[in-house]
Subunit: 214 residues, 2 copies
């Protein structure tokens, strides 16, 4: 019918064209079915708020929907230490900049627990003033002395738990920075978040399209 | 002359009437001279931003001046650990809530350095779009296991350095929470910030009044 051919456009809040291309690919189809949404991008200079990862994601998405007057998605990553009750969380970039890999390890030395989870939250809103949906992807791991390529943020000090590696059928005991890109994608917090988002877009497309046009 | 009788009004961004009364008293006179500014207050629900204490203070003050369309002052406190390159800084409330006094001590256990400084930044702007002035008061100390009354935030784990106590002519070796209110006021980061602010208002009143009316 006509309904099945309707498509919607979502604006991804990023200034990075490569990220746009990657995410376009990530959400284009779900379990063999095409997902009826097109992705474009906009660079916004949004204020970075304090708060829990969930609060920050929600506020940012709301603000972006208001500014762009359109359906939007945002993506945010946190690194949450169990011993620190989830902190540094969304503040991880300040701690990585200020302390480096060694300092982040030292900060946990006084605790018996070096576990952490990496978290991506995708936030989606069908338009200004409308509900914000969160897609929370997490990978459990440990904070360890740096191993592997030092190119990408805290990847060298995050070693996913054995269970995570088993469930992705990849080698155990490597940090994110020691894994191939393919292996990392099989178990990463970010992949899990996008999987949830893609599934939502695919299975709720009728309702979402209605919300976008209401 | 006429000039000397002109007065200006500054809005202190707080919902706390006791704080208003206290700060009215703190800035009413400088070295025996009356300070020609009156203080009123307004409660604003401003977003809490991420950033350095200086950036956060500056942005908050700017935003308040725009919203209130008047001369404003804001006050913010941070606790900055030397070993963590100034962090948690403005995020200290999240860390205190998440980790408690013991957790904040444990976080430093892996480092050789338990020094920290307490910091209040008062930010003042004579009006919307105008320059923001910062008044940075700091007291150097150490993070220690909690001692004294547990009523007030991180006071029980902050022990000012001996030099700070000597300069204020008060007993050494106490945490903020173990001091009398008077003793704490003699050396506190907050007192230092208000001293600078008061002095600025007293010595630059002509220029400030001109700026407020421009």
């Amino acid at each position: 019918g006509e309904e099945s051919e309707r498509r919607g456009t979502i604006t991804f809040v990023t200034g990075n064209k490569n990220k746009l291309l990657e995410v376009q690919r990530l959400i284009s189809s779900d379990q063999g079915k095409s997902v009826p949404f097109d992705l474009t991008n906009a660079k916004l200079d949004l204020p970075e708020l304090q708060g829990s990862p969930e609060e920050i994601a929600r506020e940012k998405c709301k603000t972006a929907a208001n500014l762009l007057q359109s359906a939007v998605m945002t993506e945010d990553t946190s690194l949450c230490f169990h011993a620190l009750n989830g902190l540094p969380g969304a503040y991880i970039k300040w701690f990585l900049d200020g302390l480096g890999h060694d300092g982040l390890n030292k900060m946990l030395q006084g605790f018996d627990d070096n576990r952490a989870y990496a978290q991506t939250i995708i936030a989606f809103s069908p338009g200004p003033g409308k509900e914000v949906h969160l897609f929370d992807g997490r990978t459990e791991g440990r904070i360890v002395p740096p191993r592997g390529s030092l190119d990408f943020g805290w990847d060298p000090i995050f070693e996913p738990l054995e269970e995570e590696c088993e469930s992705g059928d990849i080698d155990k005991g490597n940090t994110y920075a020691e894994m191939t890109k393919d292996d990392k994608n099989k178990i990463s917090h970010r992949s899990k978040s996008f999987e949830k988002f893609r599934h939502f877009l695919a299975t709720s497309s009728g309702e979402i399209l209605k919300g976008m046009n209401a």
